[in-house]
Symmetry: C2
Subunit: 399 residues, 2 copies
């Protein structure tokens, strides 16, 4: 046995998901009752809790309490938007040594894996044995090496259900309807809008715009015009990170608003992008001397990441990702992240494998070409890929 004596610490980072606590509990339950690990610290608000030594000991927490937390959306420990640089990571590493931490787990997206990578390098340089694991989490599904990421399937479930209901709503009172979906760099979540679509019935979304397929505003207008002429209505799935051909986001082109710590226009928690596109379409599609078509926009908002109706598959996989990280960390002096690799079996199944931090850190996965049918629609391949991940879905009867 190569189990090293010392404490463990776990943090949660970035936008929460409906299943991020499953991963937390997956780590904790795997380290419980290990004599060599006396304390399992939970860092409050991610790396910020580490540098401020704001931690809670999760060791010995009863299984039923852990299970209740696992089933609860959002980050039970609190999250952070801090993006640690080298100096910040040195502070993290100093606290880890002070707390005699030998097992470091950070649940988050590609920024968080980069934090793990830097802290791991610091420990390697200093000769302090620290097992660093990134546990994947993002509704964007944009981590390298993974078929998909914990958190994505629950968000996709929400998006697919919201679009299906909204499509029926739009069919009953026809018009042009824009729904803005999360995803700054990758379109997986926006594409999920098409999951329950029955094309034979003329269902929306009729147009799906993702960051991987840059599009001009003129082209959007022309697409909507053609669809509205054909169907008498048009439901649009539009990614918040959609770009034009110059590489500028449509949001940047249309909005002058708050920018975040990374210099990006604020997209979440604002309806500005959808509203601006709606106004633009009203104006451009107004017949001469006529009345603008009925154009409405919803921005799906934070419900996408924390609506309390997660996918059971996602819950299970997020748990297994946490367990896999803790199991591997216990087994030997190794670091890494966990990737979900889909098996080729007929029934859906997945493996949870260790990958190098450097393969994930600060990198972004994009939708493969085969997931798109054209620049403004997803393929059946995508829908088949998504279906087993989201859990039971409603079906609809029509006249």
């Amino acid at each position: 046995m190569s189990l090293i004596k010392g404490n463990a610490i776990i943090g949660q980072s970035g936008g929460p998901t409906a299943v991020i606590n499953q991963s937390l509990v997956g780590v904790v339950e795997t380290l419980q009752n290990v004599a060599e690990i006396p304390h399992i610290y939970g860092a409050r608000h991610g790396t910020r809790g580490i540098i401020e030594e704001n931690v809670v000991d999760l060791h010995g927490m009863p299984a039923d309490r852990l299970e209740a937390i696992a089933g609860t959306p959002s980050a039970a420990l609190g999250s952070t938007r801090d993006k640690p640089d080298a100096a910040y990571c040195e502070k993290i590493f100093a606290t880890l040594q002070k707390l005699d931490v030998r097992y470091f787990f950070y649940i988050g997206g590609n920024d968080s894996s980069d934090t793990c990578r830097i802290v791991n390098e610091l420990s390697n340089e200093s000769g302090y044995e620290l097992r660093c694991f990134h546990v994947p989490k993002t509704v964007d599904c944009d981590l390298m090496k993974s078929d998909h990421t914990p958190g994505f399937a629950s968000a996709a479930r929400y998006v697919a259900m919201a679009f299906a209901g909204d499509n029926l709503d739009n069919a009953s009172i026809p018009g042009i309807k824009i729904n803005v979906v999360m995803g700054r760099h990758a379109g997986f979540l926006t594409a999920a809008a098409a999951l329950l679509r029955d094309k034979g019935r003329g269902d929306g979304p009729h147009l799906v715009y993702v960051p991987e397929r840059p599009v001009s505003i003129d082209r959007i207008v022309a697409d909507v015009d053609a669809c509205y002429s054909k169907h008498g209505r048009c439901q649009i799935a539009l990614s918040e990170g959609l770009k034009d051909e110059s590489g500028q986001t449509i949001a940047e082109a249309l909005i002058k608003g708050e920018k975040d710590a990374h210099g990006n226009v604020q997209l979440s928690g604002s309806g500005a992008l959808g509203d601006n596109i709606a106004e633009m379409l009203k104006e451009k599609l107004k017949p001469q001397g006529g009345k603008s078509p009925r154009v409405r926009a919803d921005t799906l908002g934070y419900a996408q990441r924390c609506f309390p109706d997660p996918s059971p598959v996602d819950q299970s996989e997020a748990r297994q990702a946490g367990r896999a990280a803790a199991t591997i960390a216990k087994a030997g002096d190794v670091d890494g992240s966990i990737a979900i690799v889909r098996k080729t079996s007929e029934e859906y199944a997945a493996d949870f494998v260790r990958v190098e931090l450097s393969d994930i850190a600060a990198k972004t996965r994009h939708m493969p070409d085969e997931f798109m049918d054209s620049d403004n629609d997803v393929s059946d391949t995508f829908v088949e890929w998504l279906r087993p991940l989201v859990g039971p879905m409603p079906s609809f009867g029509r006249l």
Copy 2:
């Protein structure tokens, strides 16, 4: 038996709900296999379908198809925003006579009951026996004589779940979060935001603003400031129809946008109200020389009325409302609407009783005083009233 020989017609009106098709099917199944009623016409897009004679015969539709439609959100027949005046109602009445209709059912809110009332008066004046029934439907819960309305509980279920997830999200990354909820004149749906709140844990919504309690913008700023100082965060449930002391809506005060056929500012399908309040709070709560607090706004949007996860109680009650209307219409020459009256039994139960059209038509019910605890919060009485209506809800574990 006073069954009159002739056809039936059914229409659906206004903003759809997740259970409006239950009421449709409740009417249809009650009139099936009645020899005296050879045709059960469904009017496409409500009264518009009647005056354009755009109808579909629902007679003889198999039970399994009806059941599939009943379980599907939004108006299967299509809906309309038309608000018929006297001349329009004369056209409706002319078509009803032409189609030999003796049973007229219109599923909708208070505007729709007014259409029924006018058509009913026309039939009374002319001596043409027509049984006119309004079947209640509105997510706003604002019909007189009813404890609550079909469609409300499913919308309340969605709002409660969205707020609960969003509260956990806001706790993990603290800030000020505004969620705008549907309800132009009544605050029932906005109040539903508090259903899953555990006040002992500091849960949001921390502030609940409803149309029944006018409030100045300065007061909102002061309330949010006090809450943010106390909790380090603030989740706000704000009704789209919120008014200031002068009677002007906050939306009208802040937005210059599209107005609908009734001269109202467009509220649904736009994030403008939430975004404007967010910008205003950022500005007014900015400490001198400091950084604005993190303020975000979501507008819950059309998912409130058509998210495909309805309350089972609501489904059953919408069905029973349709059945009750059809049963009473068959039984004798009488007109009216159906009200849901809560029984005083310990276990939740309700009666479906006939009320006069004139008691409902074009009138608006408001939240009773006992449902509010103060001008910016709901009471436990409200929460107890709501709980049995929404179906099974998630529970949450915390650290």
